[in-house]
Symmetry: C2
Subunit: 282 residues, 2 copies
């Protein structure tokens, strides 16, 4: 099967590698506006050739949109206008409501499968692509009732082949969930980095001391703005809800310290410890 990957960065590049390794894609065509990325993607063997969007779609059975979520909304109508009723379009962005709504308004809507494989790192670009990246992780397929049966089945088959656990939900629920388990983690990490960097102006020695705990909470702060600004923009209402809740939770810690209420501080920490049961789930 000929597969186009539009956007050959962290996710698109890793997806390309996986589809080639598993024999799902016999030919892989890369589409990317960034010339350095296309050059690098060829060099790294992520794709077999580079083409324009139009050329690539004309030759492909499956078109995967792996661009930032703002670009997905620009690309999707173009690709929908180019495909026939055998070709399949799959997106892999971190927000889903915009995609399914946009697709729903198009006569070829059944060809679009809106998905979100729950894997990523804090790095970006084709060099960030990782072999066997998705195995064992969850992937979400949204509003499957909107998809043509054959399109949906192809995408299911693809994710099964990658070794992913499939979850089905509507796009609205998906966007709420990811605000809680992904988007807010990034905001806290960005804000934590800024908190420390603000202080660094005075105190260089801090960095001598940074240990494992700091690295793990601040790791996501290395994440790419081109990817994340559009995610926060598209999921603005949910992210604001969670951010308000998070600030309220932080204020409880602040109040405990201000009032020297260490019994309540202990309760807050013991409540937080319940996250163990979540992280230790199979």
């Amino acid at each position: 099967m000929v597969v186009t990957v539009a956007g050959i960065g962290l996710i698109g590049g890793s997806m390309a590698l996986a589809l080639k390794d598993k024999g799902f894609a016999t030919e892989l065509i890369g589409v990317d506006l960034n010339e350095e990325h296309t050059k690098k993607a060829l060099e790294l063997g992520l794709v077999d050739k580079i083409a324009t969007l139009e050329e690539a779609v004309a030759q492909s059975d499956l078109i995967i949109l792996a661009v930032p979520v703002s670009a997905v909304l620009q690309l999707l109508p173009k690709v929908l206008n180019l495909v026939n009723d055998k070709q399949v379009i799959m997106d892999v962005g971190s927000t889903k409501l915009g995609v399914v709504e946009l697709a729903a308004a198009h006569p070829r809507k059944g060809r679009v499968v809106a998905t979100h494989p729950m894997w990523g790192t804090e790095f970006s670009g084709p060099e960030a692509a990782v072999r066997n990246a998705f195995a064992g992780k969850a992937t979400v397929i949204c509003n499957k009732e909107q998809c043509d049966a054959d399109a949906f089945e192809l995408v299911e088959q693809l994710y099964h082949l990658l070794g992913m656990r499939l979850l089905y939900m509507n796009a609205e629920d998906h966007d709420v969930h990811v605000a809680y388990i992904s988007h807010i983690s990034h905001i806290t990490s960005f804000a934590l980095a800024n908190t420390v960097l603000e202080k660094e102006k005075e105190e260089d020695a801090i960095f001598e001391l940074a240990s494992g705990g700091f690295e793990s909470t601040v790791r996501l702060a290395k994440s790419n703005a081109q990817m994340w600004v559009p995610i926060f923009k598209q999921n603005r209402d949910n992210v604001l809800d969670v951010l308000n809740e998070h600030i309220a939770q932080l204020r409880k810690f602040k109040a405990c310290l201000e009032k020297e209420n260490y019994e309540y501080l202990q309760e807050l920490i013991e409540n937080a410890n319940k996250i163990r049961k979540v992280l230790n789930r199979p």
Copy 2:
């Protein structure tokens, strides 16, 4: 050399293992009020025998205080009253000003070396002890001018043997630094866990989706309240300063979203990305 470890948990247990492995301790005596811990420590071979504080100090060349920082302040005067001018007391707690001030008021103050090895995990108790835990990490020695030369040299030798990088600073500076690079990470992680757990009451599916990014930012939320409440209490003023700064940083993200100022949001993220230069330092 006979070494007593008071508090045979994560740090004390790991320290005991390391000192035995490196041949620094020929005999290791464990002191712990928690009987389950002493039983477990013997079972795991972390220490050679268990004794009361008085018995243990009487037989030891070096006494390591690895109890929660509140207990350090209770134990230290007792141990100071028990030691002669050849024995050395070393503490390994996460806050240092209280320790050096307390020691300074005692005639045997020169026997105390206040240190903070910058290693830990989110687990606790003797079962959490890790072999070869400290190698390659930094350790801080505070107010070394307060120590007798022989006591200081013994502790330096110990940390060199563990393969740690030694840093020297005064206790006041130390406590500011750790508020930024360790204590605030724990608070953000606890608060993030509570944010998500608050929501879980409504939405169980969130947990199906938790991926690597979430796990890494929330990992520290598993940390033990018995250890962390005393740390926050002793470092209250510094932690409050940092927490205020952190909430202010989060409010900037909130304001960007509320006002849909995505240019500034991008700036905030790009500024946070500068943390790369810190994390990538050798």
